[in-house]
């Protein structure tokens, strides 16, 4: 019965039979005027080999992702606009400000690969650790929780301003905040379940830099993913390498997979932004020049430095030798990865790398 309307407006729809029955007294007669209104009707998407995925829905007008989304309402992409709806402060309305081709599939992956710290983590595998090691683990948990809650805060700050024309990105970022919440849960449980407790709050130089990046979501993504995220991935990988039991092994292993999705989105978005917005590569260069200073300062001062060295060295004594060497090599890997990704993005940093980061290339 439905036919596709030209220019997408009124679509003939099945209307209820009004010939015989009378309306009940006192109850308004429904008009069903809205039933004929659709921008595109008759869509029948079939599940693919991986099921019915978000990216499969991008057919017809529903798959038209414009470079600019002028609409400042909450209208879902493809729905008919309603005249008179007041605008909302969706200030990010350009595709290059948030887009990543991978977002829809990363969303699917995130909801499919969810895990439950309460029951999936084998908590009974926790065994008492030497006091210095337990304190170091708890200190690292404390700081990583702050990394994660910084990510939640900055994503939600910008998510509020992202227009619905790019809903795949909003969907994915919703899963990223949930990943963060889950990591906070898992780390808090780890810290409070083996005789220790939370350690000291982080000084938070990079956290503050991320939270104060107000030039746009892309600027935040530079600090959140390219700098902090790349570092956090190495920290998680180092922790997995030094896990003391199956509980830690599962937490860090799962967190690595979660954060790999975040980095994939972040790198993909930055690549899109650089390749679709004139001058963006130069802007990233400036941001990175500033960001490297903060990152270098935090690496120097953060309590994660001695805490991770103690974990990698099996105690304070080992932390002074092999543990610190392992930590420095880990940071060296972070800087090398960072430079490689910068090259891939078309924002080479090797020649301009700040000395506070450059020194780690020795390790």
């Amino acid at each position: 019965m439905a036919t596709k309307a030209s220019q997408g407006m009124a679509v003939p729809a099945a209307m209820p039979d009004s010939s015989g029955e009378k309306a009940v007294e006192g109850v308004p007669v429904p008009t069903f005027d809205w039933m004929g209104l659709s921008a595109e009707w008759g869509t029948r998407i079939k599940p693919g080999e991986h099921g019915l995925r978000l990216s499969d829905l991008n057919v017809g007008i529903y798959g038209e992702v414009p470079e600019v989304w002028e609409d400042q309402t909450r209208r879902p992409r493809g729905a008919l606009p309603r005249p008179g709806v007041p605008p909302l402060p969706y200030n990010l309305r350009h595709k290059h400000q948030m887009w990543a081709d991978s977002a829809a599939n990363l969303y699917e992956e995130a909801i499919q690969r969810r895990w439950i710290p309460a029951t999936d983590v084998p908590w009974s595998s926790l065994k008492p650790l030497p006091d210095d090691v337990e304190r170091a683990v708890c200190q690292v948990c404390t700081e990583l929780m702050q990394y994660a809650n910084t990510e939640i805060e900055i994503i939600t700050y910008w998510q509020d301003q992202m227009s619905y024309g790019y809903y795949e990105v909003k969907q994915f970022l919703a899963t990223a905040t949930f990943d963060c919440a889950r990591l906070i849960e898992a780390l808090r449980k780890r810290a409070l379940s083996n005789g220790g407790g939370l350690g000291q709050e982080s000084r938070g130089l990079v956290n503050r830099m991320i939270l104060e990046s107000r030039g746009g979501w892309t600027e935040s993504a530079v600090y959140l993913y390219l700098m902090r995220g790349s570092y956090m991935m190495l920290v998680l990988r180092g922790l997995l390498n030094a896990a003391h039991n199956d509980a830690e092994r599962m937490i860090y292993g799962k967190a690595i997979e979660d954060w790999a999705r975040h980095l994939t989105y972040g790198y993909d978005h930055l690549k899109y932004s650089v390749s679709h917005q004139a001058g963006q590569a130069d802007i990233l260069q400036t941001l990175l020049t500033l960001g490297e200073i903060m990152m270098g300062a935090e690496l120097q001062e953060s309590t994660t430095r001695p805490a991770l060295a103690i974990i990698f060295g099996g105690g304070i004594k080992g932390g002074r030798t092999v543990g610190m060497e392992t930590y420095l090599h880990l940071v060296g890997d972070f800087v090398r990865n960072y430079l490689a990704v910068c090259d891939w993005l078309g924002v080479p940093r090797a020649e301009m790398l700040h000395p506070m980061l450059k020194k780690y290339l020795e390790y």
Partner: protein, 144 residues
């Protein structure tokens, strides 16, 4: 008894991996990727589809160049990793893919197309691949 490395060995591991869902605990989710292992001059292509290892075969040059990522390390390290899995029932912390990647200066995984997105699949599906190699504990193995 299967000989490592050989296509027969990898296929036996695949059969074990696919036959027991309890071996998928680390990955715990669907995995869609085509990767390759380079072992002692020989390449093996592995195709993951959902919760299964759909295929493992000897790749053509073209298939190898189109793999999402390749895992390559010195043969002695491959042997040590498999032997470690055989001894412990799963890789201990010195012989996980993550550990070996950290230990090697250039890492053990790379994208043949130098594509960061595809390279990152190594980390997104890291535990699925670990589960796969841990399943080799149930394959009676001898070394070439």
């Amino acid at each position: 008894m299967a000989v490592f490395p050989s296509l027969d060995w990898f296929q036996k591991v695949r059969d074990v991996y696919n036959s027991d869902g309890s071996l998928h605990k680390g990955g715990g989710g669907a995995c869609h990727t085509t990767a390759a292992f380079k072992v002692n001059g020989q390449s093996y292509l592995i195709v993951f589809e959902g919760l299964k290892c759909a295929d493992i075969r000897t790749p053509t040059d073209s298939e190898l160049s189109e793999a999402d990522f390749v895992i390559e390390m010195p043969f002695e390290l491959w042997k040590a990793m498999v032997a470690n899995v055989q001894s412990h029932g799963k890789a201990d912390l010195h012989y996980t893919l993550n550990s070996l990647d950290l230990q090697q200066d250039e890492g053990i995984a790379y994208s043949p197309a130098d594509d960061q997105y595809r390279q990152d699949l190594f980390y997104r599906y890291n535990q699925n691949f670990q589960d796969f190699f841990d399943a080799s504990a149930r394959v009676e193995t001898t070394f070439a």
